[in-house]
């Protein structure tokens, strides 16, 4: 079982991101379970959502306390909550930032973590460019596909087309694709941002 935890803020599409991730996994014939950490959601408040992916039925209903991967939609959360809590030792980390891990105070963490499992992606900028709104969730899914290899970009595109239609879907597909290419380029370069 592979477990992903997404941290963000109300309004950034955190819950939608895990739902789309689960749809992408379903499209690949896998079992997936997406669920939010339920609370009194408010715009800007910290939000957490979870996604489990497995090749067999998922029965477990506890929150994800030891994720295999973290997607951090808002780097300002680093100063507010312990987003890394429980992360497995070689877990994947994808952060929405136009800076490097070092620049946002994670130099020490990056130095001791498996470099090929870390990526920084300016997802808000990519969202603005293609969707016209500062929504980082879908670009991060494209980036996550590249970073983890867990799901294909084509599956993310299928999930986008299930959730959205028309111009919004087109913009999201373009955003996910650019994000995917950027993270792939980063990984080839061997550096995280």
């Amino acid at each position: 079982m592979f477990q992903i935890r997404i941290h963000g803020r109300g309004g950034q599409g955190v819950v939608t991101a895990t739902e789309m991730l689960s749809i992408a996994a379903f499209e690949e014939g896998r079992h997936a379970q997406a669920f939010p950490s339920f609370g009194s959601e408010r715009t800007g408040a910290p939000v957490v959502a979870f996604c489990r992916i497995d090749d067999k039925e998922i029965r477990l209903r506890e929150p994800i306390m030891q994720p295999d991967a973290l997607i951090i939609q808002d780097p300002t959360l680093l100063h507010q909550i312990d987003v890394f809590a429980g992360l497995k030792s070689e877990g994947y980390v994808l952060i929405n930032t136009s800076h490097s891990f070092e620049d946002i105070g994670l130099g020490e963490f990056a130095a001791t973590h498996k470099a090929s499992h870390l990526a920084a992606l300016p997802a808000t900028e990519i969202g603005l460019k293609h969707i016209g709104r500062p929504i980082p969730n879908v670009p991060l899914l494209g980036g996550f596909a590249a970073l983890s290899g867990l799901i294909k970009l084509e599956s993310v595109v299928l999930a986008i087309n299930e959730k959205f239609s028309g111009k919004v879907a087109e913009g999201n597909v373009a955003a996910a694709t650019e994000a995917y290419e950027r993270v792939r380029a980063q990984m080839k370069g061997g550096a995280h941002a």
Partner: protein
């Protein structure tokens, strides 16, 4: 058709496949997505011959449901928590009048303190209301139980609650097989009311009944639930014939044949429990699970039979009879009266507290050793409790308990669960 979808939306699709004629509901979390989706289906014409009635409260929702069911319409509503409590007088009337309304309860805690998260306090508070109550373990089962519920309710002319864990199921995206319309039509016959307000054949429904007949009317409600004990397994078997999968029934045993210790629970926590039991089985523990699907009617005989070969049981329940202990556990103990079985109760998950495997492993091991008090509160923060008790010893005006505990615990926004 297999879909990756939200539990609430899947339930809405299942209800629509049952061709309801009246849907009336008032929004309350975590039930809202279900009736929102149904409202959209009615408006778009996807669900034809159905009236969606916006009402001003849950009391009105159940009152409208009573009226429409009495008029012979297949009627559906949904609620949760305070919403269920607000409609209680009408809830009892619906069952007392024998009206086959189907209602989803997206289980949620009851305040105060106000809390929107999942536990089973709401529908269990209506234990004796005369409604049948079926508990879904998964979203697939929630879908399937709604289809069975319409058939059961209408056959018996008694209302039924389909209970599904709020948020944990209602808001989870999962792989769910949505039945075909032709399958549902083959399984669920058209509604033939036993009683109906019909201008062509006028009757009254809701007579005042004095001591000369009240007991007989109430006894018949009980007798109908006893009939349901026969019909529920039968309808589950027929469901399997049409839809090809096991869903519903009275109880669901798992790894129970040679189990010395049996864990008993209702709802979605059974999934986590089964994972723990598999892990313990791999280490040689003789442990099994008994899921209770039908809470009302309560299957005393089926529970007794399922526990016949074990040595001890632990009831893990998301509810608390304040001043007593377990609610489900009381019924389980009734089922095994005289058997000499050792039984323990664990209260867990109140107000949405996660029930992680890490807490269940030591709990189940202690149950195996019979090293538990009669009632255990799983993951209770005893330091927080003792601090408040100490505060109350020291000060007469110790203040509001909820505010004190929150203050002691500090900001909890950093918690993920």
């Amino acid at each position: 058709m297999l879909k990756q979808t939200e539990g609430s939306h899947a339930v809405a699709e299942a209800v629509a496949l049952c061709r309801p004629e009246v849907i009336c509901a008032y929004p309350i979390s975590p039930q809202t997505h279900i009736v929102e989706a149904l409202g959209e289906m009615v408006k778009s014409g996807e669900l034809p011959n159905c009236e969606f009635i916006n009402v001003e409260s849950e009391f009105a929702a159940m009152s409208v449901a009573i009226g429409s069911s009495a008029a012979g319409a297949r009627t559906y509503t949904a609620t949760a928590s305070q919403g269920l409590l607000f409609m209680v007088e009408a809830v009892y009337n619906a069952s007392g009048l024998g009206l086959p309304i189907v209602m989803t309860v997206a289980n949620r805690a009851i305040g105060a303190p106000i809390n929107i998260w999942n536990d089973h306090s709401d529908s269990l508070s209506q234990r004796d209301s005369g409604w049948m109550q079926l508990f879904a373990e998964t979203n697939q089962e929630a879908v399937d139980l709604h289809i069975q519920a319409f058939r059961l309710a209408e056959e018996l002319s008694m209302p039924i609650m389909v209970c599904m864990d709020g948020f944990i199921l209602t808001h989870a995206f999962e792989r769910i097989d949505i039945p075909e319309q032709s399958q549902v039509d083959a399984y669920l016959p058209a509604f033939e009311p036993r009683q109906m307000l019909d201008p062509a054949e006028p009757v009254s429904i809701g007579a005042m009944v004095g001591p000369e007949a009240f007991m007989e009317v109430r006894y018949l409600a009980h007798a109908k639930q006893m009939q349901a004990l026969e019909l529920i397994p039968q309808y589950a078997a027929e469901f399997k014939q049409v839809f090809g999968r096991d869903s519903g029934g009275l109880v669901r045993p798992y790894q129970i044949e040679d189990a010395e210790t049996v864990i008993i629970a209702m709802g979605s926590v059974l999934g986590t429990i089964k994972d723990v039991v598999d892990e313990m089985r791999a280490e040689g523990h003789k442990i099994g699970v008994l899921g209770i699907i039908s809470y009302r009617p309560f299957p005393l005989q089926a529970v007794r039979a399922a526990l016949a070969n074990c040595k001890r049981f632990l009831v893990l329940e998301k509810s608390l009879a304040v001043g007593m202990g377990g609610i489900l556990a009381t019924d389980i103990r009734m089922a095994v009266t005289g058997s000499g079985l050792k039984g323990f109760t664990a209260i867990a998950g109140l107000g949405g507290r996660p029930i992680p495997k890490a807490s269940l492993h030591p709990l189940f091991r202690r149950a195996e050793q019979e090293d538990l008090p009669p009632v255990t509160f799983v993951d209770l923060d005893e330091a927080a409790v003792n601090k408040q008790l100490e505060r109350e010893r020291l000060n007469r005006r110790s203040g509001p308990i909820a505010e004190n505990i929150l203050h002691d615990k500090g900001v909890v926004s950093a918690k993920f669960g």
